[in-house]
């Protein structure tokens, strides 16, 4: 039993409460930006002399427990100038609101002190990765397309789905186990072009936070991670336009005040234009014998946010997202159209009852759907799958004397599922109609206390009760959450966490990639909810005069009622989809080492993860097993994963960046044997592969170096820069997939032999993007 061993140090830390500390008083307030007055979530507020610190919540609010006296309060936030302020504490309820000044250009940002490492050391939370859009924009990117999700893949414990993929595999969890929130509303399929690009336009996003473990109680509904994406709020001072021209897409953002100091707006859009070139190629080749036209493909997305200050204590935020991918094909009378995308709208009302009690209430609607249309002569077919949610949630923050910051709230969601709705027509008459509709309700109530016990020890403990009902079947789950931080000394802290999670909706996908046809399916009488438990322990050490933070975290995650599919499962057009499901378990464990430097001309991080991720589907719960009922590695089970990210400011105008990635090759399945199949007619026997073990082979190691440079230009108005990227700088042929080729005699067509072939996807890919702001 590994579990008690893992828990022992955590328990020791929890028991090491040293009583008898001096009386403390609550100090609270809001940290905002001087630029547009918007609150800054995740800013660090601290009194270094007392080793006391706190992070602001998503509304910019913080609370600290300080003894009476005069203290130096430090506040810092990624991309902003840190400030220090002397404060006097004599009783509880002291309110200190502060505004930080942003660093104006991207180049200067390199030397900005990000979340001061000391504050990270003192944060109760663990297993959290935070990234700002400004930070991501400095790093080299494939085709120059900045992608915050791909930048997060460079953090320890986070894996990509494969070459170029924007899927997130967090501590052994699948991409369907990530709760992706955009301004508090769920985004169901966060990728374009089957996973190569994420739906988050970097101009529209302020920052992202990824929880890998130690989940706060306000989050629920997925097993493995929470990706909390915050959209930018419009500039409160004046109208600004920014954008970029890239190799495959362009983007434009307009933001500004609607009513000065009262209402702001921001609207961003981007679109790819590869289709413009492919259409031209098709036009040139029209009429050529045996020419197959290149299908038309493009995507676009739009983000908008409107804020309105109702009064001193009330503010409204209206956020929206609309994105679509289009794929069209028209050849020889055969028309094929395929589109998919997410739509989201969220209205949040923030209300301050008094300096100790805040409430946020969000009403949101979100949907993901895909539609396939196929036409041939008088025959046509259309197929749609969709999920539509309407959700209401409310969260309260209450600051209580004695070091307690209590958060409680509730959420309720109505889910509507359309699974494989198919209609085929002959002329105007319907020939086949099929598909299923489900309606389900999900709820969650929670309460959590962030308790600063004393200057060394802080605890966060909470409980979430969640439930799900579908067609008379109701599931409920209790999800305890806890984390603790203990400072051994001024430079060393220990952390531990435990989180239990439930997931009531499931992604039907056996592709191993993020395909648009992956659909969501509710828990039913037969399909029970997924569950997980995770424990993590960490130690952080600050050294080099506070310039380096070294963190080590070890974790173990148990996953129950995991879903895979029967051999030969038909997931596409099937009215009894759940009969194709197989249920099993998963486990993931590993160690993550993370060294970061955030001060000086050269900054960056090194992350190394040693991990195991396995699945087991046996006959205990099923009539059919996978891999003989034995444990098998997940495709993304990568033993070693190393990421090195370096940013160097060469001069005021030029910064250079480099990213090196090394990981163990993917586990994959390959046929080990074959047989000849003649079939009933025809001379040529087919070679049929025989697969034995699931994911029993390993691809060769993956490694890649990306280089980037940001050159600041001197335009007459505003700011501009050129961002250069070289993806896969030394042109490594990394494995994408392996197959066996049949070698035939060119003359008589006889099979001469078989050869394993490795296919790579991206060679060296240079790109340049022009960015502007005025």
């Amino acid at each position: 039993m590994r579990f008690p061993l893992f828990l022992l140090p955590l328990l020791l830390v929890l028991l090491c409460v040293i009583p008898g500390f001096a009386q403390t008083y609550a100090v609270n307030g809001i940290i905002s930006s001087t630029d547009n007055g918007e609150p800054l979530a995740g800013a660090t507020v601290s009194v270094p002399a007392l080793q006391a610190g706190s992070l602001t919540n998503e509304k910019g609010a913080y609370t600290l427990q300080l003894p009476a006296g005069t203290h130096t309060l430090q506040v810092s936030y990624l991309g902003y100038q840190p400030i220090s302020r002397s404060i006097r504490v004599s009783n509880s309820g002291t309110t200190i609101n502060l505004a930080l000044q942003p660093v104006s250009s991207q180049l200067q940002e390199v030397e900005v002190e990000t979340n001061t490492l000391r504050q990270k050391l003192n944060d109760t939370r663990m297993s959290v990765e935070k990234l700002s859009s400004r930070e991501a924009k400095l790093l080299p990117a494939l085709f120059g397309e900045i992608d915050l999700i791909k930048t997060l893949q460079l953090k320890p414990g986070v894996q990509s789905g494969g070459e170029g993929s924007s899927g997130l595999y967090v501590r052994g969890g699948g991409p369907d186990q990530n709760l992706v929130l955009l301004d508090g509303a769920v985004i169901y399929n966060p990728s374009h072009l089957f996973g190569f690009f994420s739906v988050f336009n970097p101009d529209a996003v302020k920052s992202v936070e990824l929880y890998k473990g130690g989940f706060p109680a306000q989050f629920g509904g997925r097993l493995s991670s929470v990706l909390d994406v915050d959209m930018n709020e419009g500039n409160n001072e004046s109208i600004h336009t920014s954008g970029g021209l890239g190799l495959i897409s362009s983007r434009l953002t307009v933001e500004g005040p609607v009513i000065k100091d009262k209402a702001t707006f921001t609207i961003s859009g981007r679109r790819t234009y590869v289709d413009v070139f492919t259409r031209q190629i098709n036009k040139w080749s029209e009429g050529k014998e045996d020419y197959n036209p290149i299908p038309d493909y493009y995507f676009y997305d739009l983000n908008g946010k409107f804020t309105y200050k109702l009064g001193a204590n009330d503010q409204l935020y209206l956020s929206g997202y609309y994105g679509r991918d289009f794929f069209n094909f028209d050849n020889n009378g055969f028309k094929f159209g395929f589109n998919w995308g997410n739509t989201m709208a969220a209205l949040r009302w923030r209300h301050k009852y008094n300096p100790r009690l805040y409430a946020n209430t969000t009403l949101s609607a979100t949907s993901y759907q895909y539609t396939i249309k196929n036409e041939f002569d008088v025959f046509s077919l259309d197929l749609t799958s969709a999920i539509r949610d309407y959700s209401l949630k409310t969260d309260y923050d209450l600051f209580v004397d004695g070091g307690h910051s209590i958060r409680f709230g509730a959420m309720a969601t109505y889910h509507g599922f359309t699974v494989g709705k198919l209609n085929t027509y002959n002329g105007d008459s319907l020939t086949i109609g099929a598909g299923s509709n489900y309606k389900a309700a999900e709820f969650g109530v929670y309460a959590a206390d962030d308790y600063q016990v004393n200057a060394r020890l802080s605890l966060n403990y909470g409980l979430r009760l969640s439930g799900f009902g579908n067609s008379g079947k109701v599931y409920m789950g209790l999800e305890p959450r806890a984390s603790a931080k203990y400072n051994l000394s001024e430079t060393v802290s220990l952390k531990g966490s435990f989180a239990s999670m439930m997931q009531y909706i499931h992604l039907v996908s056996n592709s191993g990639a993020s395909l648009p046809t992956d659909i969501w399916y509710p828990s039913t009488r037969y399909v029970k909810p997924q569950r997980s438990q995770q424990v993590a322990l960490g130690v952080s050490k600050l050294f080099g005069n506070g310039r380096f933070l070294l963190t080590n975290e070890v974790y173990y995650k148990w996953m129950h009622r995991q879903i895979d599919f029967r051999n030969g499962a038909n997931l596409f057009l099937n009215d009894s989809l759940e009969s194709e499901f197989l249920f099993g378990k998963g486990r993931s464990y590993g160690n993550e080492v993370y060294l970061e430097k955030t001060k000086g001309k050269t900054t960056g991080w090194i992350g190394y993860t040693l991990s195991w991720t396995e699945r087991k589907f046996d006959m205990e719960d099923n009539t059919e097993d996978i891999n003989g009922g034995n444990w098998f590695p997940a495709r993304y089970d990568r033993r070693h994963d190393l990421n090195v990210v370096v940013l160097h400011k060469l001069s005021k105008r030029l910064s250079l960046t480099g990213v090196f990635v090394f990981s163990t090759g993917d586990a994959y399945s390959m046929p080990v044997a074959r047989f000849a199949f003649q079939d009933v007619e025809g001379e040529d026997a087919a070679v049929v592969p025989i697969y034995l073990r699931r994911n029993g082979f390993r691809q060769v190691s993956y490694h890649r170096l990306d280089l980037g440079a940001v050159l600041k230009l001197r335009p007459k108005h505003g700011e501009a820069d050129l961002t250069f990227s070289v993806y896969n700088a030394y042109n490594r042929r990394n494995p994408y997939f392996v197959y066996i080729e049949q070698r035939k005699d060119e003359g008589d067509g006889r099979i001469l032999g078989f050869q394993a072939k490795q296919v790579s996807l991206f060679p060296v890919v240079p790109s340049v993007t022009y960015n502007f702001k005025f």
Binding site: N332, G512, V672, P689
Partner: protein, 268 residues
Amino acid sequence: MTRIFLYLLLPLLLLLCSCDLQKDIEVELPPYAPQLVVECYLEPGQPFRLTVLESSSYFETPQPVVVDDAQVYITYNGKRTEVPYKPTYNESSGRLYTHVSDEVMNGKPGDVYDLEVRDEKGRKVTGTTTILPKVPIDTIEWKFNEKDKAYLLTSFQDNPNSADYYRYFVHQDSLKTDPDQNFTSSDNLSNNKRISYGSGFDYEQGDVVIVTLFHIEKQYYDFLNSTADARNANGNPFAQPAQIESSVQGGIGIFTNLAFDRKVVVIK
């Protein structure tokens, strides 16, 4: 379906210098014990005939291994018939058989036949099939477009009382060549309906088209789909590996019967 995504990749790949993105690699395969592979289709009016081969490790010599010591028995209604080893080439279908009987099979719909194959290594394969009735083809129609190419449309009526599975072939000129169209379907979404199978604008005036509609057993449908899935999984990064769903026990392969309606038309 996942093949569509391979086509989706095309525009992206065009942007790249996509040459030299494949290379030969060496993969070490684990030891593999060859199994018996049986292919046997009973057809009223034809002798019992089948092929018994062996599966082999992937990188071994490509020629299939014939199991000449295999003994084959087919049992119907308590009567056990031995099918002797007699390698035969069938001219009209281009098929090879390793075992052929002198006796002709005369099964009626509903009759049950059992197969047993054993060899000197002690391997034994068994299977069962139930003779199915034919499903008649109602009509074969075609329609020309402005480029004088025609599409073909074959229609038939599904049986309301059973779960039915079909296989559809369209050959041009002769059955010896691979069919232009070859697919399986079930009446899962179209029970008791008139079912139509179409084609692209693939035919011209004067083409001789042979249309065959097989009414097949579920075990044959599953076997065909699993072999197709296994073949597609080799070379498709989005596919999961598929296990072969044999209709026989103790080895690999298919034991079933062929109930089909066949029509020959000349496109005019």
